[in-house]
């Protein structure tokens, strides 16, 4: 008997010391990848039938497609029913794990093929399908256009443009469409791929999105380009949505500042003073002239621009210290 694994997205991408995925990660990946297969079958047959599946159906597919299991049981094992019978607890545990992560959900019950009872059936959530296509992309050198298109379509479903959609959904939707229109959407899928292949400990799918939308490209040019595009999208939003987005970005940045603050009292007081001002963020800076921390209000969009410029010019993120007057004396943290 095994203890229940804590549900974390990075469990799907965990690697051994030799750099290969663990057997558990590989199994989870293949359980998700079945959605790519289902999608393909549906596209080829133009069939929009119910795509729900039972535990046995997913287990049967994974046993024939997960290289570890193919190696263990052979490509077309004659006794597949027996293998499923013997491994169903493991599949069940993994299924629950993916459900806890919001990647698969229970969609109902159906009559057993044999017998009089019913079995639970499941389906992939939009996030589950998205992750499946990202995993599918890991297997290809250079992402095929079809996978990029599928990822784009899924992102449009996840972030719908409706009147009552949350502001973040409106922003992401408009941003991804802008990327697509300008022919640079492929870079976003590259970021997703790099993120899941990195050693960053992602707990939820939201963490993964938050990371991707920080545009941490290795290439500075691209980092600047996408940050500009993101801010351009923010500035094109209607005023109410923009206010909500600024408010949420402010909280994100201040939360990161909280983790780094060297003198928390000053930061906490400044954050409290600025709590209602969604255009301003509370920052802790350090003056190399005065040799002390200062807690300052900073315009949020101005700060984002300053961070971008610092990438461009390979400069330190600095500003003038009002106390000692030293130009570029005040070092600001990079919280983007």
């Amino acid at each position: 008997m095994r203890a229940k694994e804590l549900p974390r997205i990075d469990s799907i991408f965990r690697k051994n010391k030799d750099g290969n995925y663990t057997a558990s990660a590989f199994l989870l990946q293949h359980m998700l990848k079945r959605s790519v297969f289902l999608n393909k079958v549906q596209n080829e047959s133009n069939d929009n039938d119910d795509s729900s599946f039972s535990l046995w159906e997913i287990a049967r597919w994974v046993i024939s497609n997960d290289p570890n299991l193919v190696q263990k049981y052979g490509p077309k094992p004659p006794n597949v029913e027996e293998i499923i019978e013997n491994t169903q607890m493991r599949f069940k545990r993994k299924l629950v794990h993916l459900m806890d992560l919001g990647l698969i959900q229970k969609s109902g019950t159906r009559l057993q093929e044999k017998g009089m009872g019913t079995v639970d059936v499941y389906k992939y959530t939009e996030y589950g399908q998205l992750l499946a296509f990202i995993i599918e992309g890991l297997d290809h050198n250079g992402q095929p256009r079809s996978i990029n298109n599928e990822i784009f379509d899924l992102l449009c479903l996840i972030f719908p443009l409706k009147e009552d959609s949350p502001a973040s959904s409106i922003l992401y939707s408009k941003f991804f469409r802008k990327c697509k229109d300008r022919g640079v959407f492929e870079n976003i899928t590259v970021l997703f791929r790099e993120a899941v292949s990195s050693d960053i400990p992602f707990i939820s799918i939201i963490d993964l999105f938050q990371y991707v939308l920080r545009f941490k490209f290795n290439d500075k040019e691209r980092m600047i380009y996408f940050n500009n595009l993101f801010d351009e999208t923010i500035n094109e939003l209607d005023s109410k949505t923009k206010e909500l987005i600024l408010c949420s970005l402010k909280l994100e940045i201040e939360d990161r500042m909280k983790e780094q603050a060297g003198y928390f009292e000053g930061f906490e007081k400044m954050r409290f003073t600025l709590r209602a001002d969604f255009r301003k963020i509370a920052l802790e800076s350090f003056c190399i002239g005065c040799q002390q921390f200062f807690h300052i209000p900073f315009d949020l969009l101005e700060y984002r621009k300053k961070v971008r410029n610092s990438y461009n010019e390979f400069l330190e993120l600095t500003t003038k210290c009002r106390r000692c007057g030293l130009d570029n004396g005040l070092i600001l943290p990079n919280l983007i």
Partner: protein
């Protein structure tokens, strides 16, 4: 690439499977490495004095059951002590690295080899590491009370010296004192921390929001809430405001992650109340029509309610969908 470390989170040091075996092979060894802090504390009167890895390894040869059993019988029982230590050094060094990544230990620089002219890396325990050692010790009922006193002293001095918390630290120092005066420090703090050991990833998770706790037993919940309000009301007004604002930000973030109907209405309400440091936006659920309903609540009132009547519908609040009275339940965040 995400390389699997032997121990990469605090819970891995403690988690057991259903039959009581540690999930991670090195879990017990990690606990024993941490327990060496007690030896340092005893010998040097301070747990954070540097130590040699060799000394730790030698101590583990007697203390750690797996190492002891390995050399019990012939022919290996004649293995010289030095060879025994050398055999496990890589494993111990690996774990010291893992535990340092978790901030339970830290490098104390390099020291002269005892034999030879070179230098070797030495380590010391952090206060976080020592806290975990004390929590391990507190599992022994005979030591529980004396260990609780040590934990009190440790946390008290940590929060007094800390510049990484302000209102939270002030509140905790005051509330710990009250727990101690009422003889419930062990129950309200040590037990809480110990229960978090097999779920906390980092030391930050372990000591996160010790001011927002929930107890299911009525008497305990009542006592906690009494102490909480007494402490809150004795704070300086500006510290009280800062603390409530800090709690609001944490709880609101949790609510945002758990919200079922995430639409503009929720964001609008959060935005509208952004200046109110003491008000929180919640998504309640109607038990009658199963609809999710948005509402705002005072943080202090919310904490009292979630402790004293967690599963009782809000009285006097009507569901806007089905119009039924007393049917809305609010979540524990």
């Amino acid at each position: 690439m995400l390389f699997t470390k032997s121990i990469s989170s605090i819970d891995q040091i403690f988690r057991k499977d259903k039959i009581g075996n540690y999930v991670k092979r090195n879990a017990k060894l990690s606990q024993d490495i941490l327990s060496y802090a007690l030896v340092i504390q005893q010998e040097k009167s301070n747990y954070n004095k540097p130590f040699y890895v060799w000394d730790l390894a030698q101590w583990l040869m007697d203390k750690h059951l797996e190492f002891r059993e390995r050399y019990q019988y012939n022919p290996v029982s004649n293995t010289p002590s030095k060879s025994r230590v050398q055999y496990v050094m890589d494993r111990i060094r690996g774990l010291l690295y893992d535990l340092s990544s978790l901030q339970l230990l830290e490098s104390a620089g390099a020291a002269h080899q005892r034999r030879g002219t070179g230098f070797v890396e030495i380590y010391k325990y952090t206060s976080a590491g020592y806290l975990i050692v004390l929590l391990i010790e507190s599992m022994d009922p005979a030591k529980k009370e004396s260990v609780a006193n040590e934990i009190y002293d440790l946390l008290n001095s940590d929060y007094r010296a800390s510049s990484s918390s302000y209102s939270y630290g002030i509140f905790l120092i005051a509330v710990f004192k009250k727990y101690k005066e009422k003889g419930v420090f062990s129950e309200f703090l040590v037990d809480v921390l110990r229960n978090r050991l097999d779920s906390a990833t980092t030391i930050g998770d372990l000591v996160a929001r010790l001011d927002v706790l929930y107890f299911d037993e009525t008497e305990k919940a009542k006592m906690f809430i009494d102490i909480w309000f007494q402490t809150l009301n004795e704070l300086e007004p500006n510290v009280k405001e800062l603390l409530l604002h800090d709690i609001k930000l944490t709880l609101q973030t949790t609510m945002s992650k758990r919200i079922v109907v995430h639409d503009k209405a929720y964001e609008d309400l959060v935005f509208e109340l952004r200046g109110r440091y003491d008000r929180l936006v919640l998504e309640g659920k109607c038990q009658n029509c199963q609809s999710y309903i948005l509402m705002a609540d005072d943080i202090a009132h919310y904490l009292r309610r979630s402790n004293l009547a967690p599963n009782v519908p809000l009285s006097g609040v009507r569901c806007i969908r089905c119009d039924k009275d007393n049917s809305i339940i609010i979540p524990r965040l």
